[in-house]
């Protein structure tokens, strides 16, 4: 034997490692391939050359068309050799070369001969090669042989034919469908793999025939499927049948559940896992159905095989999203996985625990995670940081320990993406939980003291400039900001100067000190820093009338009231001349933003990373947009904007959705219209609103859209007056009117004459929930108790029969439009009663808190006790009215 003598020691001769392919060259190998043409074939030599060719292809080398053809033709000559080893290599290289259809003809006869050979290996491989390279017409010629092969007594041949059938089904379905009798026979095969392949093919053949699939599943779940792989397939098909049946309204005892459950006791772990997953993924799975699946997964958690642990924790992680309570039993096993050698498993365990954990376990968990964080890669850390962010939103009371954790990891080593995830999380927490603001800002300050990422430093400085001045003691941030001016690069220095100036303006008492600090900056080596310092000093030093103060404040903090895109184009078009650039000349209307671009925007990260794109579909964006329209400027402060409601079906000629903007005395409907026909240009687009079913509303003004080209959304507005502070409701019917002009697609020019037309939109309703703003309170109990108990309004309601408690709770939340607090919107799956805490601000800026207790009896009748506390008794009554009428 060769091996014992050639014991290698890799440590020493790594560099000079021997390889049979060292210095291999395509040209030389192609030369060598001529050996295929020798009249006397040398099998060994030829095999070696084929291996070299395969090696080249495998290394990513590509052959030109001519080279490939040449090799292919010479390879076909090798069919004359009887050497089985060589034949095997020939099959392989033919598949790799994937010859064109006119070349295929050369080998078909050889391969067809092999298909009928006595040697099993030839038959099996010839089928696989042939099916890979032939087209439909040739296929009909060999169909007979393939059918025969499916029922061949040799399982390898049979499998080869079945698997080839699976591939051919994609290109020639009508031919393969004729084989179902033979395939059916394959299912009865003794060979495990033949059974597996036959089942896969039979299902593919019948997949569009729901009844046939269902019959197939029924017959097989009773019988005995031998192969674990086939059993896994059967489980997949069964879940599909279950899904289809529930889609078609067949209720009652879930069919086939028993079969899935019995698979949990199968001897192959592969099958157990497949069944457990299928059960956890059933639509509306109940906790009773889940239990056995969770139990087997729990056993897997302590398996010595990493793959099993990974599979189990990954499944449980998914279950935890919908049924956190069902997974809590596994928490102890999961906690021991935090120290798992395999970091993928550990990370999944942690994020699962973060999902299932309750408020009391947060601290303990954080301690464990701290130990774990030091030895995982950044990409895992980001996952953990994101899980912690959502945990913090769920349990606002625990923000302290979570914030401490985030600040600790912020101080440790890490790459940009990781640091940004942490900073984004802290910013989110600061925004959502007012109590966390001061400590959060200080953590960020400490971070920029030693931050190597210019981007993050400038973003944090900007954020500090907005949030810092409104804190109880703004002066403590100054030191951190001013340090930047000494220690950082020009970009960060410039950002720091701007932030300092903001503090100077917002906090009168700091003004003199800031002025001194800024004076030092005017000797900076960088132009931008100097310019900013000089500018801010002159504005600050003005110290004159209130007027200029207001102006400069507006200048510093007021957001630009024109869309940035328009500003950019205007600036580009601006010709440097005598005339100064006039910002008023920049159009305020949002112009063509192609749909695709908008979609891409939606993907951008939130938090610090997201620039406030104008006008972003968010409250700030709407506010800016509306205040830029003179007709609406007098309406006062925007109270709330609804999310867009679609008024057209998907894929109609004109896509319209509406956003309801609520003001104290007015309601503005913003119709977002998109023209989806390329050959049309719409002009004078308007929406005619019939408010006859909304008595309290009267139309005051509307704003039409001058032109709506293809695929660039535009807005038209209609404003209504309504009684002040009253949550008036009503129904509005809408008609879109416009002038259509034909557009020549080749030139993009529109014709001069247009035709008036209209288009009926769906009705729109203003409901009570539109007057409620979702506002999170961090400590519900404190907020609840701080409100006068006298003003509490309690009443009980019957909600009738519902599928589950969760569904009833969701309906109530949607009806009221309030923010669920402390994660009380999720219901433990087996609960029969639940309390949900809601908070919000009602029109007129009245704070409202709701405590809703739900109970379900055996017949799924749900009763609700609703306790409302509001700063204004009439509002509490109004809430009850909403529920009573809803």
């Amino acid at each position: 034997m060769a091996q014992p003598f050639v014991k290698k020691d890799d440590d020493h001769d790594d560099e000079l490692e021997y390889s049979p392919f060292m210095g291999i060259e395509k040209g030389a190998v192609l030369q060598e391939a001529r050996v295929f043409n020798d009249p006397q074939v040398d099998p060994r030599r030829c095999s070696q050359v084929i291996t070299k060719l395969l090696y080249l292809l495998n290394q990513g080398e590509s052959f030109t068309k001519v080279e490939a053809t040449e090799v292919f033709f010479s390879v076909t000559k090798l069919f004359q050799s009887k050497d089985t080893g060589l034949r095997r290599m020939v099959y392989l290289i033919i598949k790799e070369l994937s010859p064109s259809s006119d070349e295929v003809i050369i080998v078909t006869s050889s391969l067809m001969k092999d298909m009928n050979s006595k040697i099993d290996m030839y038959r099996a491989n010839a089928i696989r090669v042939l099916c890979r390279i032939i087209d439909g017409t040739l296929l009909t010629q060999i169909e007979r042989y393939l059918k025969q092969a499916i029922v061949d007594k040799n399982p390898v041949v049979s499998s080869a034919a079945l698997v080839s059938g699976l591939h051919l089904l994609k290109t020639n379905p009508e031919i393969v469908k004729r084989w179902s009798n033979e395939v059916q026979e394959g299912i009865q095969s003794r060979s495990a793999l033949v059974q597996f392949h036959a089942l896969a093919l039979l299902h593919q053949i019948r997949q569009n025939d729901r009844l046939a699939v269902s019959k197939l599943v029924v017959s097989l779940t009773r019988g005995s499927v031998r192969s674990p792989l086939a059993q896994c397939l059967l489980i997949r098909y069964t879940s599909q049948v279950i899904r289809d049946m529930s889609n078609h309204g067949q209720s009652g005892e879930r069919p086939f559940y028993e079969f899935l459950e019995s698979c949990l006791r199968h001897k192959a772990e592969m099958v157990i896992l497949e069944a457990a997953r299928a059960i956890t993924e059933l639509d509306g799975v109940t906790s009773r159905e889940l239990t056995p699946a969770i139990t087997v997964l729990q056993l897997f958690l302590s398996s010595p095989r990493p793959v099993l642990r990974f599979a189990a924790v990954r499944t449980l992680n998914k279950v935890a999203m919908t049924h956190p309570m069902a997974v809590t039993n596994c928490n102890i096993d999961m906690e021991s996985l935090i120290s798992d050698q395999n970091r993928s498993i550990a990370t999944l365990a942690i994020t699962t625990l973060l999902k299932t954990g309750n408020e009391s376990s947060v601290e303990r968990l954080m301690k464990q995670i701290t130990n774990f964080m030091s030895d995982i890669a950044d990409e895992f850390k980001i996952v953990v940081v994101e899980a912690i962010r959502s945990l913090c939103v769920k349990f606002p009371l625990k923000y302290r320990s979570l914030m401490t954790f985030l600040s600790n990891i912020l101080r440790e080593e890490g790459g940009f993406e990781y640091k940004r995830a942490i900073v984004d999380s802290i910013v989110t927490i600061i925004r959502d939980i007012p109590d966390a603001k001061e400590s959060g800002l200080l953590h960020l300050c400490e971070f920029i003291e030693d931050c190597e990422f210019t981007y993050l430093s400038t973003q944090i400085l900007h954020f500090l400039g907005i949030e810092g001045p409104n804190t109880s003691d703004p002066s403590k941030y100054i030191r951190y900001i001013y340090n930047r001016v000494h220690l950082e690069n020009a970009t960060v220095r410039a950002a720091a100067v701007s932030t300092l100036a903001k503090f100077g303006f917002m906090v009168e008492s700091l003004k003199p000190r800031i002025t001194i600090l800024l004076k030092r900056c005017i000797y900076d080596s960088d132009d931008e820093v100097r310019d900013r310092a000089t500018l801010f000093l002159s504005v600050l030093g003005g110290d004159g009338t209130v007027d200029t103060d207001e102006d400069s404040k507006e200048f510093l903090f007021g957001s630009l009231d024109v869309p940035l895109v328009n500003m950019e184009t205007s600036l580009k078009n601006y010709d440097p001349s005598e005339e100064a650039f006039d910002i008023n000349s920049v159009p305020k209307e949002v112009k063509s933003q192609p749909l695709a671009e908008k979609k891409a925007q939606g993907k951008k990260p939130t938090g610090l990373g997201a620039p406030p794109a104008a006008p972003a579909p968010g409250f700030d964006g709407y506010e800016r947009l509306l205040s830029s329209i003179p007709e609406f400027a007098a309406f006062g402060k925007l109270f709330k904007s609804s999310s867009p409601v679609e008024l057209t079906e998907a894929e109609t000629e004109y896509a319209v959705n509406v956003v309801k903007h609520i003001f104290d005395n007015h309601v503005v409907f913003q119709y977002n219209c998109t023209n989806t026909i390329e050959e049309q240009l719409l002009e004078r687009v308007n929406v005619i609103v019939d408010a006859s079913e909304a008595e309290e509303f009267s139309e005051v003004t509307s704003k039409a859209l001058n032109s709506l080209p293809y695929d660039s959304p535009g807005q038209t507005f209609v404003a209504f007056e309504k009684p002040a502070g009253v949550p008036a409701v009503g129904k509005f019917s809408n008609t879109l009117t416009f002038v259509v002009k034909e557009v020549d697609p080749s030139t993009g020019e529109a014709e001069d004459d247009g035709v008036e037309d209209e288009y009926q939109l769906e009705d729109l309703e203003v409901v009570a929930a539109d007057y409620m703003m979702k506002v999170l309170v961090s400590n519900f109990r404190n907020a609840w108790e701080s409100m006068d108990e006298e003003d509490e309004h309690v009443d009980e309601y019957g909600l009738g029969q519902r599928e589950s408690l969760g569904e009833a709770i969701k309906a109530v939340i949607d009806l009221l439009g309030m923010q669920p607090c402390e994660g009380t919107e999720t219901v433990p799956s087996n609960a029969r009663s639940h309390t949900c805490l809601l908070s919000g601000v009602y029109i007129g800026n009245v704070k409202v808190l709701v405590r809703a207790q739900f109970g379900m009896d055996s017949s799924k009748e749900i009763a609700m006790k609703l306790a409302v506390r509001a700063e204004d008794v009439s509002v509490a009554e109004a809430i009850h009215e909403i529920v009573a009428s809803g």
Partner: protein
């Protein structure tokens, strides 16, 4: 996920992440550059782990990857994120054991390169167009190793190429020393 389990690729890399033999069955990586980038990512992510006794597993770019190492060889099998990892693991185990049989217990890079034809055949016998063809190592090795000799055969029965290979190795080794 009504389709049969599907393998997206099989990778056999060396201790530096370089390709020894790879086979892709999915269009997720259309170019050679994309393939190499994926191999690099997989290799970097797993190289520090110890996958020498048990099959290990990780997730990358919405894929599940099971892997096992032996000496300077790294074996990987990739499937979609919905895939049953135990099916992938059985494919990997089948491949690993079959290669072990074909290389007569000497699973290392040099031996693998010397018998690259067997490795290619092995890949071909395990997966066909992404579909699991066979996972039993003995069957795979039997089908792939048609011209390999019985490991227990005496020296005299070695094929000429093997004898030559042995001699060549001795020779290079003595030259390099």
């Amino acid at each position: 996920m009504e389709l049969p389990p599907k393998v997206k690729n099989i990778l056999l890399l060396d201790a530096e992440g370089k390709r020894i033999a790879v086979k892709y069955y999915s269009d997720d990586w259309p170019t050679n550059t994309a393939k190499e980038a994926f191999e690099k990512a997989v290799f970097t992510k797993t190289q520090k782990t110890n996958a020498r006794t048990e099959v290990e597993v990780t997730a990358l770019e919405n894929n599940i990857i099971v892997y096992k190492f032996a000496q300077d060889l790294h074996f990987f099998v990739t499937g979609g994120e919905e895939e049953n990892e135990l099916v992938l693991a059985s494919v990997l185990q089948g491949l690993f054991d079959a290669v072990n049989l074909l290389l007569r217990g000497n699973v290392d890079k040099r031996e693998a390169l010397d018998n690259l034809d067997l490795i290619f055949l092995c890949f071909d016998e395990i997966i066909d167009g992404g579909i699991v063809l066979e996972t039993d190592a003995n069957v795979i090795a039997g089908k792939a190793g048609i011209n390999s000799v019985d490991p227990n055969a005496p020296l005299s029965e070695q094929t000429i190429s093997q004898a030559l290979a042995t001699a060549r190795e001795h020779f290079t080794k003595s030259l390099l020393k």
